[in-house]
Protein backbone atom coordinates (compact mmCIF):
# COMPACT_ATOMS: atom_id res chain seq x y z
CA UNK A 1 0.00 0.00 0.00
CA UNK A 2 2.58 2.57 1.10
CA UNK A 3 5.11 0.56 3.11
CA UNK A 4 8.03 2.05 1.11
CA UNK A 5 7.32 5.46 2.68
CA UNK A 6 8.84 4.35 6.01
CA UNK A 7 12.31 3.50 4.58
CA UNK A 8 12.04 6.61 2.39
CA UNK A 9 11.43 8.75 5.51
CA UNK A 10 14.43 7.10 7.17
CA UNK A 11 16.47 7.85 4.04
CA UNK A 12 15.66 11.57 4.37
CA UNK A 13 16.91 11.56 7.99
CA UNK A 14 20.08 9.56 7.25
CA UNK A 15 20.89 11.74 4.24
CA UNK A 16 20.74 14.87 6.39
CA UNK A 17 22.80 13.07 9.07
CA UNK A 18 25.39 12.08 6.46
CA UNK A 19 25.80 15.67 5.24
CA UNK A 20 26.14 16.98 8.83
CA UNK A 21 28.65 14.27 9.83
CA UNK A 22 30.67 14.72 6.60
CA UNK A 23 31.05 18.44 7.28
CA UNK A 24 32.40 17.76 10.79
CA UNK A 25 34.67 14.81 10.01
CA UNK A 26 38.47 15.04 10.00
CA UNK A 27 40.77 12.95 7.81
CA UNK A 28 41.99 9.81 9.64
CA UNK A 29 45.56 8.48 9.80
CA UNK A 30 46.59 6.48 6.72
CA UNK A 31 46.99 2.69 7.06
CA UNK A 32 48.49 0.12 4.70
CA UNK A 33 46.18 -2.28 2.91
CA UNK A 34 46.94 -5.11 0.45
CA UNK A 35 46.42 -4.24 -3.19
CA UNK A 36 46.89 -6.49 -6.24
CA UNK A 37 47.73 -9.51 -4.12
CA UNK A 38 50.66 -8.81 -1.84
CA UNK A 39 51.73 -5.23 -2.45
CA UNK A 40 50.85 -2.90 0.42
CA UNK A 41 49.39 0.48 -0.40
CA UNK A 42 48.80 3.39 1.91
CA UNK A 43 45.09 4.03 2.36
CA UNK A 44 42.84 5.97 4.68
CA UNK A 45 40.22 4.49 6.96
CA UNK A 46 36.76 4.94 5.51
CA UNK A 47 35.02 7.85 7.27
CA UNK A 48 31.68 7.16 8.98
CA UNK A 49 29.85 9.49 6.58
CA UNK A 50 30.95 7.24 3.71
CA UNK A 51 29.57 4.22 5.56
CA UNK A 52 26.33 6.10 6.17
CA UNK A 53 26.17 6.64 2.43
CA UNK A 54 25.81 2.84 2.00
CA UNK A 55 22.66 2.99 4.12
CA UNK A 56 21.36 5.98 2.17
CA UNK A 57 21.87 4.23 -1.15
CA UNK A 58 20.13 1.08 0.08
CA UNK A 59 17.20 3.04 1.50
CA UNK A 60 16.75 5.40 -1.46
CA UNK A 61 17.32 2.70 -4.07
CA UNK A 62 15.07 0.18 -2.35
CA UNK A 63 12.33 2.76 -1.80
CA UNK A 64 12.47 3.84 -5.45
CA UNK A 65 12.15 0.28 -6.72
CA UNK A 66 9.35 -0.47 -4.27
CA UNK A 67 7.54 2.73 -5.29
CA UNK A 68 7.69 1.43 -8.87
CA UNK A 69 6.13 -1.85 -7.71
CA UNK A 70 3.30 0.11 -6.06
CA UNK A 71 2.83 2.08 -9.27
CA UNK A 72 2.69 -1.23 -11.16
CA UNK A 73 -0.05 -2.50 -8.87
CA UNK A 74 -2.04 0.75 -9.13
CA UNK A 75 -1.44 1.70 -5.48
CA UNK A 76 0.20 4.98 -6.49
CA UNK A 77 -1.57 7.35 -8.87
CA UNK A 78 -0.35 10.62 -10.43
CA UNK A 79 -3.23 12.63 -8.91
CA UNK A 80 -4.13 13.68 -5.34
CA UNK A 81 -3.97 11.98 -2.81
CA UNK A 82 -1.44 9.93 -4.88
CA UNK A 83 -2.04 6.79 -2.79
CA UNK A 84 -5.26 4.96 -3.72
CA UNK A 85 -5.53 3.66 -0.15
CA UNK A 86 -5.69 7.22 1.18
CA UNK A 87 -8.94 7.94 -0.65
CA UNK A 88 -11.22 6.40 2.01
CA UNK A 89 -10.80 6.20 5.81
CA UNK A 90 -11.04 2.38 6.07
CA UNK A 91 -8.29 1.83 3.48
CA UNK A 92 -6.24 4.63 5.03
CA UNK A 93 -6.31 2.86 8.41
CA UNK A 94 -5.23 -0.38 6.75
CA UNK A 95 -2.45 1.51 4.96
CA UNK A 96 -1.19 3.05 8.20
CA UNK A 97 -1.25 -0.36 9.87
CA UNK A 98 0.78 -1.81 7.00
CA UNK A 99 3.26 1.05 7.24
CA UNK A 100 3.61 0.39 10.96
CA UNK A 101 4.29 -3.32 10.50
CA UNK A 102 5.75 -4.10 7.04
CA UNK A 103 7.23 -0.62 6.46
CA UNK A 104 8.95 -0.46 9.84
CA UNK A 105 10.24 -4.03 9.40
CA UNK A 106 11.70 -3.09 6.00
CA UNK A 107 13.51 -0.09 7.48
CA UNK A 108 14.77 -2.15 10.43
CA UNK A 109 15.98 -5.01 8.22
CA UNK A 110 17.92 -2.69 5.90
CA UNK A 111 19.39 -0.84 8.91
CA UNK A 112 20.36 -4.15 10.56
CA UNK A 113 22.07 -5.32 7.34
CA UNK A 114 23.94 -2.01 7.19
CA UNK A 115 24.93 -2.43 10.85
CA UNK A 116 26.45 -5.82 10.03
CA UNK A 117 28.30 -4.27 7.06
CA UNK A 118 29.71 -1.47 9.25
CA UNK A 119 30.74 -3.94 11.99
CA UNK A 120 32.51 -6.13 9.43
CA UNK A 121 34.24 -3.11 7.88
CA UNK A 122 35.36 -1.87 11.33
CA UNK A 123 36.71 -5.34 12.20
CA UNK A 124 38.70 -5.43 8.95
CA UNK A 125 40.05 -1.91 9.58
CA UNK A 126 41.03 -2.79 13.16
CA UNK A 127 42.77 -5.95 11.95
CA UNK A 128 44.75 -3.96 9.37
CA UNK A 129 45.75 -1.38 11.98
CA UNK A 130 46.77 -4.11 14.45
CA UNK A 131 48.92 -5.80 11.81
CA UNK A 132 50.51 -2.46 11.01
CA UNK A 133 51.32 -1.67 14.65
CA UNK A 134 52.71 -5.22 15.15
CA UNK A 135 55.08 -4.71 12.17
CA UNK A 136 56.34 -1.46 13.72
Amino acid sequence: MACFLVPAAEAVITTVAEKVIASKEKASKPIEVPSDGNVLESAQKLPFSQKLKWLNTMLWGGSALLAFEHLWHGEIVPWFPFLTAASDPASAMEMLQEMGTVGVSMALLVTAAWGIMVSAASAIEKKAQKALSAEK
Binding site: M58, G61, L65, W72, M106, V110
Partner: protein, 106 residues
Amino acid sequence: MTLLTTVFAAVISTVIWYKTAPKSEMQVGVLCLIYWGASLMWLADAIFAFAEQHAAVFTPAPEEMLNDLYLGLSVVALGLVIWLVILLVKDPKGVVKAALFKKKNG
Protein backbone atom coordinates in the same frame (compact mmCIF):
# COMPACT_ATOMS: atom_id res chain seq x y z
CA MET B 1 9.31 -13.94 -8.09
CA THR B 2 10.10 -10.21 -7.83
CA LEU B 3 12.21 -10.89 -4.74
CA LEU B 4 14.03 -13.73 -6.48
CA THR B 5 14.74 -11.64 -9.60
CA THR B 6 16.07 -8.75 -7.50
CA VAL B 7 18.24 -11.08 -5.39
CA PHE B 8 19.78 -12.53 -8.58
CA ALA B 9 20.45 -8.99 -9.84
CA ALA B 10 22.01 -8.10 -6.46
CA VAL B 11 24.26 -11.20 -6.46
CA ILE B 12 25.40 -10.67 -10.08
CA SER B 13 26.14 -6.97 -9.51
CA THR B 14 28.06 -7.82 -6.31
CA VAL B 15 30.20 -10.35 -8.18
CA ILE B 16 30.93 -7.71 -10.87
CA TRP B 17 31.75 -5.16 -8.14
CA TYR B 18 34.15 -7.62 -6.47
CA LYS B 19 35.86 -8.38 -9.78
CA THR B 20 36.41 -4.69 -10.55
CA ALA B 21 37.25 -3.56 -6.96
CA PRO B 22 39.05 -1.53 -5.64
CA LYS B 23 38.55 0.60 -8.79
CA SER B 24 35.12 2.16 -8.68
CA GLU B 25 35.10 3.96 -12.00
CA MET B 26 31.78 2.38 -13.00
CA GLN B 27 30.10 2.92 -9.60
CA VAL B 28 28.95 -0.73 -9.56
CA GLY B 29 28.87 -0.53 -5.76
CA VAL B 30 25.90 1.84 -6.04
CA LEU B 31 24.03 -0.67 -8.21
CA CYS B 32 24.75 -3.44 -5.65
CA LEU B 33 23.39 -1.33 -2.79
CA ILE B 34 20.25 -0.38 -4.74
CA TYR B 35 19.46 -4.06 -5.48
CA TRP B 36 20.35 -5.26 -1.98
CA GLY B 37 18.20 -2.53 -0.43
CA ALA B 38 15.22 -3.53 -2.57
CA SER B 39 15.86 -7.25 -1.95
CA LEU B 40 15.86 -6.74 1.83
CA MET B 41 12.65 -4.73 1.66
CA TRP B 42 10.93 -7.40 -0.44
CA LEU B 43 12.25 -10.02 1.96
CA ALA B 44 10.47 -8.27 4.84
CA ASP B 45 7.33 -8.11 2.68
CA ALA B 46 7.66 -11.83 1.87
CA ILE B 47 8.00 -12.72 5.58
CA PHE B 48 4.73 -10.92 6.33
CA ALA B 49 3.06 -12.58 3.32
CA PHE B 50 4.27 -15.98 4.58
CA ALA B 51 2.92 -15.28 8.07
CA GLU B 52 -0.48 -14.52 6.54
CA GLN B 53 -0.77 -17.05 3.73
CA HIS B 54 1.67 -19.78 4.88
CA ALA B 55 2.69 -22.29 2.18
CA ALA B 56 0.32 -20.73 -0.38
CA VAL B 57 3.01 -18.09 -0.93
CA PHE B 58 5.18 -20.73 -2.63
CA THR B 59 2.48 -21.92 -5.03
CA PRO B 60 1.34 -18.86 -6.97
CA ALA B 61 -0.92 -19.16 -10.01
CA PRO B 62 1.06 -19.27 -13.31
CA GLU B 63 -0.47 -15.98 -14.47
CA GLU B 64 0.47 -14.30 -11.18
CA MET B 65 3.99 -15.73 -11.39
CA LEU B 66 4.44 -14.45 -14.95
CA ASN B 67 3.25 -10.99 -13.92
CA ASP B 68 5.66 -11.02 -10.97
CA LEU B 69 8.53 -12.08 -13.24
CA TYR B 70 7.68 -9.28 -15.66
CA LEU B 71 7.59 -6.87 -12.70
CA GLY B 72 10.91 -8.22 -11.41
CA LEU B 73 12.60 -7.70 -14.78
CA SER B 74 11.14 -4.20 -14.99
CA VAL B 75 12.48 -3.47 -11.50
CA VAL B 76 15.95 -4.68 -12.56
CA ALA B 77 15.75 -2.44 -15.64
CA LEU B 78 14.72 0.55 -13.50
CA GLY B 79 17.63 -0.15 -11.13
CA LEU B 80 20.00 -0.12 -14.12
CA VAL B 81 18.52 3.17 -15.36
CA ILE B 82 18.94 4.78 -11.90
CA TRP B 83 22.54 3.52 -11.78
CA LEU B 84 23.23 4.87 -15.29
CA VAL B 85 21.87 8.30 -14.35
CA ILE B 86 24.08 8.35 -11.22
CA LEU B 87 27.07 7.25 -13.31
CA LEU B 88 26.54 9.96 -15.92
CA VAL B 89 25.91 12.66 -13.31
CA LYS B 90 28.95 11.72 -11.18
CA ASP B 91 30.98 11.01 -14.33
CA PRO B 92 34.01 9.47 -12.51
CA LYS B 93 35.93 8.92 -15.78
CA GLY B 94 35.21 12.43 -16.99
CA VAL B 95 33.74 11.09 -20.25
CA VAL B 96 30.66 13.35 -20.27
CA LYS B 97 32.75 16.42 -19.44
CA ALA B 98 35.28 15.50 -22.14
CA ALA B 99 32.51 15.05 -24.71
CA LEU B 100 30.94 18.38 -23.84
CA PHE B 101 34.31 20.13 -23.86
CA LYS B 102 35.11 18.63 -27.26
CA LYS B 103 31.81 19.88 -28.64
CA LYS B 104 32.49 23.40 -27.42
CA ASN B 105 35.91 23.37 -29.07
CA GLY B 106 34.64 21.86 -32.27
